[in-house]
């Protein structure tokens, strides 16, 4: 029985436990730790995007008590390299990522996500503005969980500009913080 971070992909969606592994934001609606089949193309002009990655907390097993007070943050420093960024927004509903595989994902915006109005809670912001001293509050809680998701989703997207270099970027770390009365 444990807390998990899961990445949601596909129509189902399928939830992949990424608690103990990394997940790569490529130009495909799939989780991989090191996939190179569908990288994001460096654009000749403008910006290309990864497919957006929907992540959410999951309680594996059953627990007696409450989990609440969810926060999300980064280390505050973008080390992805020149021309590469990371944006995030909270979502109330899962929406499958779309785009052109191996080229670019559809830009994450309120209009492009889900119902186009309320499914994405806010306009995406630079993920690195959310730090341990200024975390993003994630709404939601669960009491007596039984193999279930809880809290809002956090949707991530990598942005790639013309000045980006080809190849894999360094990894970045995101952190979820939760309080639990389940010991």
């Amino acid at each position: 029985m444990a807390l998990q971070i899961r990445r949601l992909t596909g129509t189902g969606p399928t939830g992949t436990n990424i608690t103990s592994i990394n997940t790569r934001l490529n130009a495909e609606d799939a989780h991989s730790t090191a996939g190179t089949t569908n990288p994001i193309q460096v654009p000749a002009s403008g910006t290309n995007y990864s497919y957006w990655a929907v992540t959410r907390l999951y309680y594996d097993g059953s627990g007696t008590g409450t989990i609440n007070n969810i926060e999300w943050f980064t280390d505050g420093a973008n080390n992805l390299g020149t021309g590469v960024g990371l944006v995030m927004a909270r979502a109330n509903v899962y929406a499958q990522a779309t785009g052109t595989p191996g080229v670019t994902g559809t830009q994450l915006t309120i209009a492009n996500y889900g119902n186009g109005t309320t499914d994405l809670v806010e306009a995406p912001a630079d993920a690195f503005t959310f730090t341990s001293s200024s975390p993003k509050a994630v709404t939601g809680s669960v009491t007596n969980p039984e193999d279930e998701y809880f809290g809002q989703m956090v949707v991530l997207q990598t942005t790639v500009g013309t000045t980006a270099s080809a190849g894999a970027t360094p990894t970045e770390t995101i952190t979820w913080r939760v309080d639990s009365t389940i010991a």
Partner: protein
């Protein structure tokens, strides 16, 4: 073997024990009779909080999860009390290495030392 995680000790000498993965909940503690609260690690008692009159128990597991990194759990055990109309807190932070740090009031949105969201039983005493 199922190991004990915490024990609520009542004024009349009885107690409520919570074992890992059992159905006894923190919300089940009878706060009107609570005298002290003991926390165990690997079945061994490592910390006991003795409550004075008017002090209300707070207990949380505060977890930090990052993909590809070990989960970090910090246990918060302390009390809150209303003194002259003001909510006062004293919270012990028990770190994974066993070090205990005693702090006062919660620090806003700070991920480690920030506010908790009270459950119903904590609001009522």
């Amino acid at each position: 073997m199922n190991t004990i995680v915490w024990q609520a000790n009542y004024k009349d000498g009885t107690n409520l024990q919570h074992f890992k993965d059992d159905k006894v909940s923190y919300a089940d503690i009878d706060r009107s009779r609570l005298e002290s609260f003991s926390f165990y690690k690997k079945g061994k008692r490592i910390f006991t909080l003795v409550l004075d009159e008017g002090q209300r128990l707070i207990f949380r597991k505060r977890s930090f999860l990052s993909p590809g990194k070990p989960q970090i759990d910090v246990y918060l055990i302390g009390w809150q009390a209303t003194i002259n109309g003001k909510n006062i807190q004293a919270i012990n932070y028990i770190y994974p290495d066993g070090v205990v740090e005693l702090r006062g009031a919660f620090k806003g949105k700070d991920p480690l030392f920030g506010d908790i969201v009270l459950i119903e039983q904590e609001k009522n005493g």
